[in-house]
Symmetry: C3
Subunit: 257 residues, 3 copies
């Protein structure tokens, strides 16, 4: 049974409208929701959630991701074939949403989808009218080369690469989860060049012990750890780091010694 | 693999309790959630969401819909067979919830379900004890004529039919989605009798350009378009029309030239 | 097709990360979400929701439940085989979460899972790295005796057993649903020793008629009934009992004559 995942910022009946299309084209598909809880039009958070999750799915999974403030404009529609330990497919808008996941999976080819549909897609719902049919066809084994033309000038999100300088570790917040855990783009490898387990660093002058798990500090206390996604995460044990630090998504983060 | 969809105003573990019943009777069913985010007991919004989504599902899909403030009272339980391009089944309370979807699918027959169950249904959870078993049996191909008696006096929601008079287009708000888009019951055909692309009309004295997609106006600006569901929709580009117009679900809407 | 259910307090992409692991090990699994809406780290509510729902699933269903404030600490990981009318499996942390469901199913054996994995589990996400693989293997028919060692000193949640004395019925609130219905741990049998249909009792000096269903009182009025889960429930017809009584989860409840 082929697997198609969905990640959107849609609520209400919109994800189900995509599923109706998928199941009409590919009735035996196992559709898995990655999340529909991305904050409206927050491409960066969507890209992070997709890159944390998509690579763990089985070989030949198709991921349809739609966080798409530019729907109906000139922005292109993409299908991607990514190959690492496994081969996976991605479909979604050309706004940077898919690229971090594709990179995490391995090497990848990007195709601009051309529509050969006789029906005109709704200018407000490409998730249903373009990406769902493309994803369904990919899950049935249709050749991605027949769905579009290869491109190399796809859009990538601007990012602040993590860096260490003058005893400051700088990175970017890429997701804040519903527990309030603040997830950065600082990978394990870089984190360990800056700090070792047992040491304490600082965020906004507040001490952050670097530990292995939440319960290594007292309840309500802040901490720094490598999250389950492999990136540096600022948390509180049994409490909300987002509220505690009053931090929001767009911020650059600076951790000091 | 037969498909059963669920649309309810249930949260928590209640939809899963319905799925347990369905999978016990029909283990190979593919259960798809349309939405469980209908505001509690808002039959009108549930009916709109169901009518927007159900007709797109494959042939022989069974839709179980439960927004049911009258549960346990004398209100009747319904099963419906609707036939247009496809045949679809609906099960739910006799309170108007199912009828707009049935009409959208095509012609339809309505049956009052009679319970032959030896176990008494919970007077507070017909979704689990009546509609889930009926839906599961319909998905297995059981004959709807054996499940109830045909009726014609089923309940329909009162609606304000869309109308144009004296340069005023009047309709009803039938759903407001989580982006804050205000969806009316004014279909494309009637909308185009009132306004053409490029023209500007007014809601509460505020200008509304009639456009094809959100990005046709500047960020934060209001607009009017035909939504992906085929009905007139009042939106803002990248912002929330519900908040902007301070409009709620029960309102009649009047668009002026 | 084997069934695995998930109940967690995870939001965002975390449940999907568990599904990726499950589908990699057991690709033909039907994964059903019981709920991911448990309030963060509220073991008691998670245990109630699981015990209300899990026992209704088909024979050999595997339930993975993770509400786990102690993740990464010394708390043990459990797999349970419960047998009553059906056999069901449970996997989750040793913090009391699984036990009420196991008891509701029937008699049960508890195993402490030992990890033979070569990969080290993330110290913050045992749902993905321990319970998802264990659940997937159980769904494939692997022998639970080979996954761990039997224990009898598993943790149980402290509870206030329901009791009647001096015309006071005392119990505990174990769940408040999203309609605001307050669910107690007082089972039907005990409730009927205290009150009969048609009688009125009191909560905080406010009258509560004991009825069969919500619509037996006027809109906005409080009532007492046996909920669909079989326990005494305090509700309002078409309104929110949680708000009306200003009651929260940790409270003991006392109903007076």
């Amino acid at each position: 049974m082929p697997i198609i995942t969905l990640l959107t910022d849609f609520r209400d009946f919109y994800p189900a409208a995509m599923k109706a299309v998928i199941l009409t084209i590919a009735p035996q598909t196992n559709i898995v929701d990655i999340t529909h809880g991305i904050p409206p039009q927050n491409i960066k958070w969507g890209a992070a959630a997709l890159s944390f999750t998509a690579p763990s799915f089985p070989d030949n999974t198709v991921h349809i991701a739609v966080v798409d403030p530019g729907v109906g404009s000139e922005r292109r529609s993409l299908a991607i074939r990514a190959t690492g330990k496994k081969t996976q497919y991605l479909a979604g808008p050309d706004n940077g949403l898919l690229i971090p996941a594709a990179k995490t999976i391995g090497s990848f080819e990007v195709f601009e989808i051309f529509s050969r549909s006789t029906e005109k897609p709704s200018p407000t719902f490409h998730g249903r009218d373009i990406f769902a049919p493309v994803g369904a066809k990919l899950s049935l084994g249709e050749d991605i080369h027949e769905m579009g033309v290869p491109i190399t000038d796809f859009i990538e999100l601007p990012t602040k690469a993590p860096a260490i300088s003058n005893n400051i570790l700088t990175g970017e917040i890429i997701f804040i989860d519903s527990f309030g855990n603040i997830i950065t783009n600082i990978p394990e490898e870089i984190a360990f060049k800056f700090v070792n387990y047992g040491e304490t660093v600082f965020l906004e002058d507040r001490p952050l012990p670097f530990v292995r798990t939440y319960t290594d500090v007292n309840s309500g206390k802040p901490l720094l750890l490598i999250g389950s996604h492999g990136f540096l995460e600022i948390s509180l044990n049994r409490a909300n780091a987002r509220d505690y630090f009053n931090i929001d998504t767009e911020d650059i983060i600076q951790i000091t010694k």
